[in-house]
Symmetry: C2
Subunit: 394 residues, 2 copies
Amino acid sequence: MLNFSFKRATEYVFGKGVETKAGEMLKKYGATKVLVHYGQGSVVRSGLLARVEDSINAVGIPYVSLGGVQPNPVDKLVYEGIELCRKESVDFVIAVGGGSVIDSAKAIAAGVLFGGDFWDFYSGKAEMTKALPIATVLTIPAAGSEGSPSTVINKITGDGPIEKRGSGGDCVVPTFSLLNPELSYTLPSYQTACGAVDIMAHVMERYFTNTPDVEITDRLCEAVLLTVIKHAPTAIAQPENYAARSNIYWAGTVAHDDSIGLGREGDWATHLMEHELSALYGVAHGAGLAVMFPAWMEYVCEQDLDRFVRFAKNVWNIDCEGDKKATAMKAILTMKDFFKSLDMPTSFAELGAKKEDIDKLVEILFKGSGGKPIGGFVKLAEEDARKVYEIAAR
Amino acid sequence: MLNFSFKRATEYVFGKGVETKAGEMLKKYGATKVLVHYGQGSVVRSGLLARVEDSINAVGIPYVSLGGVQPNPVDKLVYEGIELCRKESVDFVIAVGGGSVIDSAKAIAAGVLFGGDFWDFYSGKAEMTKALPIATVLTIPAAGSEGSPSTVINKITGDGPIEKRGSGGDCVVPTFSLLNPELSYTLPSYQTACGAVDIMAHVMERYFTNTPDVEITDRLCEAVLLTVIKHAPTAIAQPENYAARSNIYWAGTVAHDDSIGLGREGDWATHLMEHELSALYGVAHGAGLAVMFPAWMEYVCEQDLDRFVRFAKNVWNIDCEGDKKATAMKAILTMKDFFKSLDMPTSFAELGAKKEDIDKLVEILFKGSGGKPIGGFVKLAEEDARKVYEIAAR
């Protein structure tokens, strides 16, 4: 186990109806002027936004609202949010939505207190060291952004390709997050499935490690995977099944608040490779991960077959008596079948991605990494990443 | 899953040599005068206390020291610590030791800011709502007090029996905890084993619940149990095995920071019944738990045989094809055998407890509960508790 430091100061309020506590919680944490940030209308139609705003009104804190965050959130709205916050002297940002809305809120919250262009955080030119405090009312269990220091934003330039880049810092870990699993009842099956894959991916990016002797976090990782594997099919078959929805909701937070990744190196190459698919084709992150994770596993599994055998046994309940490589491949195939059972794509073709774009994907990917290899479990150079994309494109 | 709120603001610094960060961390959190609280000499002999004090000296923060905490810490030293802190205007307490030292430090930290008798917190007359900030340098993975709001103190009155009572509050959750697994290298096997049982007990008090649909925390609980079951024998056989020591260290914190108990009711009757054994015979908490947990399980298992079958399968890898009650009993026996393999007692006789004291144990136990039944999974009245003690005394 590696040395580590860990502190997560987010206060979680979990359960039915907790969105109505937004006002009292903002007051508790000293907000005096709030930006309510949200997406493209579903929170308006469902009445959720009104419930949140009503609760803020009830405690008498003034607020301004900014909607319009789209999936794969873009830089333009972040600039708009920063300007609005400065003009209105906002001192607290509350995100009402899924990972895209929360990530956009984090970019705004950090951007407001930064002298330069907020994109510098994402291009690697500046570090996030201070931000307005952030809160979330989560609607989609997936990104884990409600308890993480991470944020991903898309930069759209006139002619060039979209750049999808991550940033983060302790300063954008939410101060509080209100988690009502019922808010996911109305998610389309596709989004529920994308969320399940995203949660599993956050675990697997940590699970596949070269750090030895990490039984406690290995087991915690397996715990989250087993929970999602059990409950995702139920959540899709019975959208209003609270048992399934609540377990997935909390699994999504645990998967990415880093509690299950402590003391171990992670990988994260698959996330980076997927980001380029989302940027180029606008596909949902979870769907892209369903395609890329099996491909990545197939390419890297020989790095540590024992780890893949453990994955086969403890996560997929596969009999591990035979050849290790065969067991590893069986685990990968079983995972792929699971993704398929959730109606997720598992190939470029199903995703709408094109084999002939692979050169372009690799080019932008390594522009983002500054030419350096990506990944921790196996370091992938350009040639390796190309081969992983090729497996996905088979 | 039940609704819950969760916030744990402890900063953990984990790994080799982290005790030397005590000074810089105290400075980071604004300490201006520190009480260094410790036990009965082993931290002096090992040089640990000197390393901690040197690091505090290095940042120029004045401190006073108070040693002498004994296992099953007593009220007398708490009064002394409170007086010392007031006299010296201490504003931060750092505990260097195991659960007893940390619990004593918590009592002092809360007592300093309380107008009345600190024992009121433990007798149920007052609630802990404010305390000096606390830090820990942990030496024994067991009590989980380094990340929990709990504290247990023994009141010794002239003639009457010793009262062992718990209290707690968010205000005594440590501000930071320095966790160096190497500090447990010198633990005697017996203490290592007691710690392992205590960690497992903290999980099992949460695991046995009537709350339905808690897969995520069920799995997280199982993760911690499996880790301890794997590594405790290694830690005893090879005291300087860092893999074993580090996994147990972190498992001990995870087991009791409540992350694995969220959204579910716990039980805790076994802890209460054990406290009376520790109070009457001065036995180590973990040893008492090794005796009481199997007895409690035998008495209550019919409450939910499916849960015990799950326990048998997922924790003890027992084939669960046959009769549920038989499977449950096999799980209990397997756990008992595991405790025995760690040289833990599993009966009154081995513990040095006496069957003829059962009436006295029950009497003090229910004096502590104000006559109310104890436990959440099964509510035990006096008659039930007597039967559990009788099973332990067989």
